[in-house]
């Protein structure tokens, strides 16, 4: 069975991001989401400093690509911030988190309309299953106190 290299990397990302689901929870159980986010950012910068001398960085980047990559970091982290804000503004985790996990829908729409990507039938089925799976997986098990209410 041939496994494409992009899938291997996607699965590595999935594992790393999946582990952060636990570490983030352990962090916000101990400190405020604001402080947790701040140290998350510090770690991102530290990682960038570690990566910086180890790879051949291309400093002849087109300004457009440079700024789009920077904007990418802002969009992603701002998304994390707004997801925290949704919870702080009284949104129930059982609704907010599965709702936020619908973000791939927008990426798919943009990829098909703007990037002209095409999908095979099994991939279309896979997307539907992935969206449903992400929503189901992000449902928290109700605590004993929640059950009592």
């Amino acid at each position: 069975m041939h496994i494409p290299l992009w899938l291997v990397f996607a699965m590595v990302a999935l594992v790393f991001w999946g582990i952060t689901g636990i570490t983030q929870k352990l962090s916000t159980n101990a400190i405020s989401t604001g402080l947790s986010f701040l140290w998350f950012g510090v770690a991102m910068i530290a990682l960038a400093l570690v990566v910086l001398p180890k790879v051949s960085l291309d400093w002849h980047l087109a300004p457009k690509d440079f700024w789009l990559a920077v904007i990418g970091g802002t969009l992603n982290s701002l998304g994390a911030y707004t997801s925290f804000a949704a919870l702080e503004k009284g949104g129930k985790a059982s609704i907010v988190i599965p709702l936020c996990y619908l973000y791939p829908l927008l990426t798919i729409i943009l990829a098909i309309t703007l990037l002209h990507e095409s999908l095979t039938r099994p991939q279309m089925a896979g997307i539907v299953l992935a969206l449903v799976a992400a929503i189901l997986l992000s449902q928290e098990v109700p605590s004993q106190t929640d059950k009592a209410l």
Partner: protein
């Protein structure tokens, strides 16, 4: 004839819903944007520039002043730092998936089932029980990854 009172006050959209929808837009656009730039930027370079992009949001959080509270500062900071390192390493792999030809419309939904790992870890490490929904989600996620690879 008595006319019923006309409701003049418009129904307000709850703030949490606005923030949730904003999250979908921000993350959804990021997925497509990453695919566009991955053709021209090395995955490691992408992560360096990503980190620069995080700084303005850190400034917003810093200015919000909501940094106090919590039960164990040392422990919380340690896990937040680990989260950043793991998240950033995951980003590099995500960027590489695009560099290797992965489509945004496939890679993004495939990686969006990452709570699969969280649920499995929670079960084995934190002894958290998985709900029926989560168990069904685990099976669907695995089927989805297989289908997305075809």
């Amino acid at each position: 004839m008595v006319t019923p009172p006309v409701k003049t006050a418009r129904k307000r959209i709850p703030a949490w819903l606005v923030f949730s929808l904003l999250t979908i837009v921000l993350w959804g656009v990021w997925g497509a944007l990453t695919k566009v730039i991955s053709a021209d930027i090395d995955a490691y370079m992408n992560q360096v520039l990503f980190a620069i992009g995080v700084v303005p949001v850190m400034a917003i959080v810093l200015l919000s002043g909501r940094l106090s509270g919590g039960i164990s500062r040392k422990r919380g900071i340690f896990y937040a730092f680990i989260t950043g390192v793991l998240g950033g390493t995951g980003n590099i792999a995500f960027f590489m998936a695009f560099s290797e030809g992965g489509k945004a419309s496939v890679v993004v939904p495939a990686t969006s089932v990452s709570p699969l790992v969280t649920v499995i870890q929670g079960y084995f490490l934190l002894k958290e029980s998985a709900s029926g929904c989560q168990k069904a989600g685990l099976l669907l996620a695995m089927a989805a990854i297989y289908l997305l690879s075809l």
